[in-house]
Amino acid sequence: MYIIIVGGGRLGYYLAKALLDEGHEVLILEKDAAVCQSINNELGSICLRGDGCEAMTLEQAGTSRADMLIAVTGEDEDNLVACQVAKHKFKVLRTIARVRNPRNEDFFRQLGVDVAVSSTSIILEHIKHELPTHPLMHLLTIQEKELEIVEVTISPESITVGKQVRELSLPPESILSLVIRKERKPTVPTGTTTLQDGDQIIAVTRPESVEALKSALTGS
């Protein structure tokens, strides 16, 4: 694949390195001449000096044959514009933007950016996972199918402890797919599986039903 990375900061540099190792053709676009030169010295001629939001630079970079463009500058607005120009002028199929402000994640997607990644949100998810007060964790979003895969942990306070799965009123289109219990092999739950304190339940559901699923499973 031909992948263009906009922004030669630390994130761009390590991304390029990893993608080169995987055998992809990579080009970094970076405004700062000195940064550009030090990347070229280290990784070979893979950095082009220029503004990745400018159509002219993107033209020079051969963006119309790129399979993917990843914008990882430090500014949300620059990342948005780089992705939009790549998408609409050069018809790049996949565009990925780094967002600093987590509120921009959804907005960027509405504006046509295929993937918007916020390190704040990612770290927050990890914190939620580490903290026992957060019984629910998002594992994966399948955007095309509008499905969420989540993990719900049953705590001693959950009023569902001791109940059977068939007694729960799960939201529509929600499936409990796996129960992970301490010191036991994961099992696929059936209607007669009884919930216990400490169970980790992996479930598939609709994004709008996530909260309802959580309360059905934990009672809170």
């Binding site: 607005e77 514009v81 509405q110």
Partner: protein
Amino acid sequence: MKVVIMGCGRVGAQLAAMLDKEGHQVTTLDIDAYSFRRLPPEFGGSAIIGNGVDEETLKKVGIEEADAFVAVTQGDNRNVMASQIAKHKFKVPRVICRIYDPLRSDIYSLLGLEAISPTTVFAQMLKEKLEG
């Protein structure tokens, strides 16, 4: 008319002053308080410090009730992003955006933003002067 102007540089300040004089309700927004020195002493609108690419800030300056939003900061991309927030998120009826780079301006015009490139406009004006 209720107008929010993002960027209180020479253009932003002058536009704010003109609209204010005609009796419109004007709010100017800039990340640097020092920029507001450009507003005339009799300016009757409000001047607020904040970043226009942030939804919360835009709400604070009353974007939800605004009839028009104008983005004239020095950064093309900041103007583009703020304008898209105003247009798509807050459904402001009239959104105008300055984009210096003519190519980028063309792209966003195609995407439905009302974009003006001063580069193109001014070069055209100079040419007409020379030919006139």
